[in-house]
Structures are given as C-alpha cells and as structure tokens.
C-alpha cells in the first residue's frame, strides 16, 4: 500500500519535471545558450529542493547569476516555476528601459526577473511584510541592481496602519484580508495608496496583492492615476464568499478605463478559491 503511494508520487513528480523541461525547450524567445542555462539552473534548484531538509538547509543560492536569499526552498521553487519557467510576467516591449511598478514583490524574484529581461528598467517594488522585505532588500543590494526603489508598505485604499496576516510556512500567501487566511500570526503594517507613488507614466504594473486587488484598482481609478498606466499584469484571487473583491467590479474598472484584457485560469483549489492571470492593455 505504502509502496503504491510512493510510486504514484514519484510518477507524478517525474511527469511534472518533464513538463517543465518541455516548457523551457519550447520557449521560442530564448536562444539555445539561454535555454541550456535555464535548464541547468532548473535542475540545480530541483536537486537542492530534494536535498533541503534531508541533508542540508538551504538559506542562500545562486540562480541565473543572481545571489538569492530565500525564506524556504519550497516557496523559492514555486516562484521559479511561476516566474522563470512559465514566465507569467513576460511582456514584449520595444522599449529598453520600461518603468515597472511591482506591487507584492515577496522576496524579489519578480524584480530579478524584470532585471533579467530589461537590465535598464526602473523598478519600484512594494512589500508589506518586514521579514520578507529584509530579504528583498538583501537580494537587490547583493546583486547590485540599479534603479530599484523599495517600499515597505502594503497597498490598500487608505493611508493608515492595518493588520497583516503572516503565515510561517508560506510567505507567498501573506494577506491584509481576514477572510482569506484565518490562521497565522497577526502583525501591524503600514498601508498606503498606490496612487501616492505615481507621478508619471508607467509601462508595467504588476499586481499580486492577495485579495486587495479591487481596493488598489479602485484607488487608482478615483485618483485618475490609472490613465498613467499602459499595461497591467495582475493575479486575481477569487474567493466567492469575500464580497469586497468581486471579479465583476475589478473588470468593470478596467472596462471603464478603456483597457483590453485577457485572462486565464491559474489554479483552482477544492474550496473554490481560485487564482487567475489577467493581462490588460490600454486601447
């Protein structure tokens, strides 16, 4: 019985690895050398993920030429898969130095990815949790990233202090919203409106704020700052019971401000909690 489950798990893992490898090989945008490099790094991360907790404890590693400090290997692997392998934040720009607002940076993997794509970009990154912010700071300074500005604030529709829920095992799911995760430690963080930071044109707004999407967009809408934004790349978290973040109200803001959008299902969990990837362009 135990053996059967074990074999099933191994089979599942092998198919997942093959899938990821195929995604890397099928990427038309990368040159052959880049593919080999990414593949090599992916395998390295996979091996470290296997060894972590068994033989060694990984705290820091090299990935694609960057030195990365991490919270846990599991989270790091999820981020690598999402950002570097599946390239959910990829955007084809003709400009060499886009201005990027990265809301919800976590440990800064998205910042590294944007710098990997556009080395001359200007990045403004927001992260509320003090613990992950420290790592974010370390990751940007250690790799000598220029033109990156970091803010230790959460994003909402008011300027104040707010309760923030930190989960020990999963820093990717930290949230300002009580309804999402009832478990976890509660700390107080500073929150602010994103509109206070926007003064000129923005090329990409990356929004990954667990369940505060509507609040952030609503604030941008009423302050008129949405006009400064060219493209939005956001993750929509859909929780049917939570009425303050309804899908229809998020989409109606985008429609009202003349955005064309696409969306796609990311993953769906058993309790109907789902995440969607949405990309929006100015018409």
């Amino acid at each position: 019985m135990l053996n059967k489950i074990f074999m099933k798990n191994i089979f599942k893992k092998v198919t997942l690895i093959i899938k990821d490898v195929l995604i890397i090989l099928a990427n038309e945008r990368l040159t052959f050398a880049n593919k080999v490099n990414l593949l090599f790094n992916y395998i390295k991360v996979r091996i470290l993920l296997f060894l972590d907790g068994r033989i060694i404890n990984v705290k820091k590693l090299r990935f694609l030429g960057f030195t990365v400090d991490i919270v846990s290997m599991n989270e790091f692997f999820i981020l690598v898969q999402e950002i570097f392998i599946r390239e959910v934040y990829y955007f084809n720009f003709n400009i060499d130095n886009p201005v990027i607002f990265d809301a919800g940076s976590n440990i800064g993997m998205s910042v590294l990815y944007f710098k990997y794509l556009y080395p001359n970009s200007f990045i403004y990154a927001f992260e509320p949790s003090p613990k992950t912010f420290e790592i974010l700071q370390y990751n940007t300074s250690e790799n000598n990233l220029k033109n990156v500005e970091l803010f230790n604030v959460g994003l909402s529709d008011i300027k104040s202090n707010a309760d923030f829920f930190v989960k020990e095992s999963m820093s990717l799911a930290n949230t300002l919203v009580v309804e999402e995760r009832r478990e976890g430690e509660m700390i107080e963080v500073r929150v602010d409106c994103l509109s206070h930071y926007i003064e000129s044109e923005i090329d990409i707004l990356k929004l990954d704020v667990q369940l505060s999407e509507y609040k952030v967009l609503h604030d941008l809408d009423i302050s008129g700052k949405l006009n400064f934004i060219n493209t939005i790349h956001m993750e929509i978290h859909y929780l049917p019971e939570y009425k303050d973040n309804e899908m229809s109200s998020i989409l109606s803001i985008l429609e009202k401000n003349n955005f064309i959008y696409h969306m796609e299902l990311n993953e769906i969990k058993s309790d109907n909690f789902a995440t969607y990837t949405l990309k929006a362009f100015k018409k």
Binding site: R86, P240, E246, M247, S248, S249, E255, H262, L265, F281
Partner: protein, 307 residues
C-alpha cells in the same frame, strides 16, 4: 483589424492555420485524452475512440477525395446529419473530445436546457451520458433547426422539446446574422456589419425571439448557454424574472470583444448577484502567447451556491 477578428472567428479557417505538426500533435493529444476519460467507463470510451478515428479519417479525406458536406456520420452509435463537415468537426471536438459540457449527476434523470443547440450534437451528448434526461433545446436558424429535428427523429430520442426561436430579453422578431455555428442576433457581433464575410451578411433573416423565463417552470439541473454574444441579455432577463435561482449549474460560452452590451463584468455581476460560484477557462492560447485579437471565447462554469 475587424478582418483579422473575423478570420479568427470563422471556424473553418482555423483548419488552414494549423500546420501538419500541429495536427499530428492534436491527434495524439485527443487520443490520450479519450483513453484517460475514466468517468466514462470502458464501453463509452471505446465507442468514442472508434468515432474519433472515423471522424479523423473522414476529415483527412474531406475535400481531397470525397466531399462530406451534407452527409451524415455515426457518432457513438447515433446518426448525425450535417451541412458543413468542418463545422461538425469543431462542434464534435468541443463537445465530445474536450467535453466542455460534462457534468456529473447522481439523479439519472436530469432536466437540461440547451440554448444554442446547433445541429444537436450537444443534445446527443447529454442523451449519451444520461439516456433518460429531459432536454429543452433552442435553435433559431431554420436550416440548422431542420437538421436538429432530423437528428433527434432519426435517433428516436424521447422527452426532447425543440424550439425554433432565438433567446433574448423580449418576445417578438429579430434579425439573425450569419449561419451555422456562428448565427447570432447581436448586430455588430463580427465587427461592423458589412465588413463581415459577404455571403453571411446576405443570409440575414428574420426569426422570432422569446424570453427564457417563459420556458422554465421549476428546477433545472443544467443550463448550456452558447448563444453567440447574447449572453448578457438572456442572463439579465433570467435574473430579473427570478428564473436564474431555479438553475443548479450553468456552463456558458462567453464571447469576448462583442459590442458594448455584452461586457464580461456585466455578465459576471448578474451571476454574482444570483449567488453562483464560478470558474473560467479560456479555450484559446496561453495568456503569454496572446496578441490583442486572440481572446474571443471564455468558458464560464457556474455552480449554484449553497444557500
């Protein structure tokens, strides 16, 4: 730009876009997906596999050796008459291979409403899953309706009700644009009228419309909605007349980038107000590979919320 959009929406032209490699890939993808359909059981899977081979071979020969337009194909033991083979093929792929409309029901006699039945492949599929299902099907285009009627009669199905009307928010008559799978009551659905494929525009005709609420009395287990751009009209009428709460589960094809009346936020608002739990899947390419004009369809699966 409107031309580009039109090109994507004409289902037949998809065929020309596909390369040989992509075809081989899709053949194997479907082959393995049929084998993996555990919910169907062995017999059904075998029948589907046989049908799949048959349809694929016919598709290879179509217009090269024989013209299959206007003939029939045996699908999982049922006989299906059709007008246009390519159209039939894409319906078959959506309904039988991708199983967009699959739902599991304990009660073996579900009540189903099939809005936009086309030639009746979806009716067939529901009858195949649940032979005792009660189905009400709607199809506005007269030519397609004739085929639908024929398909239902030939296979001697019982407890099926057919209506040759278009669904809308009022009773009356309305112009129907286009034909086959793309027939719609929404003006400007394919870009500006006139820029759309010429002979489709010449085929505009007058059909009668009715409200959905005049056909629903009591509980409905499953609503299939594939009405080419009129989703918002029909859903809001259903919500206002209180019919929407009678429905357990909706699988709808939402059509993006249609005129103003049919905005996604409006459709979702109606569904949220009716306390549905939703999930979407876009049946086009990955978001990453998308250009501005790719995103046209969105499958929305709604399940009634436990109150």
């Amino acid at each position: 730009m409107a031309e580009l959009r039109g090109k994507y929406l004409i289902v037949c032209s998809k065929n020309n876009i596909m390369t040989f490699g992509a075809r081989v890939q899709s053949f194997f993808k479907h082959f393995f997906s049929i084998i993996g359909k555990r919910h169907l059981g062995f017999g059904k899977r075998f029948r589907l596999l046989v049908t799949f081979f048959l349809v694929y071979i016919k598709r290879l020969m179509h217009k090269r050796v024989v013209n299959f337009d206007g003939t029939y194909v045996s699908v999982v033991g049922f006989r299906v008459y059709f007008d246009d083979f390519e159209d039939f093929f894409w319906s078959f792929k959506d309904i039988f291979l991708d199983e967009s409309y699959y739902f599991k029901y304990e009660n073996k006699q579900p009540i189903i409403i099939d809005a936009g039945a086309n030639i009746g492949l979806s009716v067939l599929y529901f009858k195949w899953l649940y032979p005792e299902a009660c189905i009400t099907a709607f199809e506005p285009h007269p030519d397609t309706y004739t085929l639908l009627e024929k398909n239902v009669q030939v296979n001697s199905f019982s407890s099926i009700e057919l209506h040759d009307i278009a669904l809308s928010d009022r009773r009356g008559t309305i112009t129907l644009f286009g034909k086959n799978r793309a027939a719609t009551i929404v003006e400007g659905f394919f870009g500006l009228k006139g820029k759309w494929n010429k002979d489709l525009v010449e085929n505009d005709l007058l059909v009668s419309t009715d409200k959905m609420s005049s056909f629903v009395d009591g509980h409905v287990d499953f609503l299939k909605l594939d009405i080419e751009g009129a989703e918002s009209l029909v859903l809001s009428e259903m919500y206002n007349s209180g019919v929407l709460t009678q429905i357990d589960r909706i699988v709808m094809e939402y059509h993006h980038r249609t005129p103003e009346v049919n905005r996604l936020s409006g459709v979702l608002k109606t569904l949220e107000d009716a306390r549905f739990v939703m999930s979407f899947s876009s049946n086009t390419k990955k978001v990453n590979a998308m250009t501005h004009w790719d995103f046209t369809h969105l499958m929305i699966v709604c399940i009634a919320h436990v109150k």
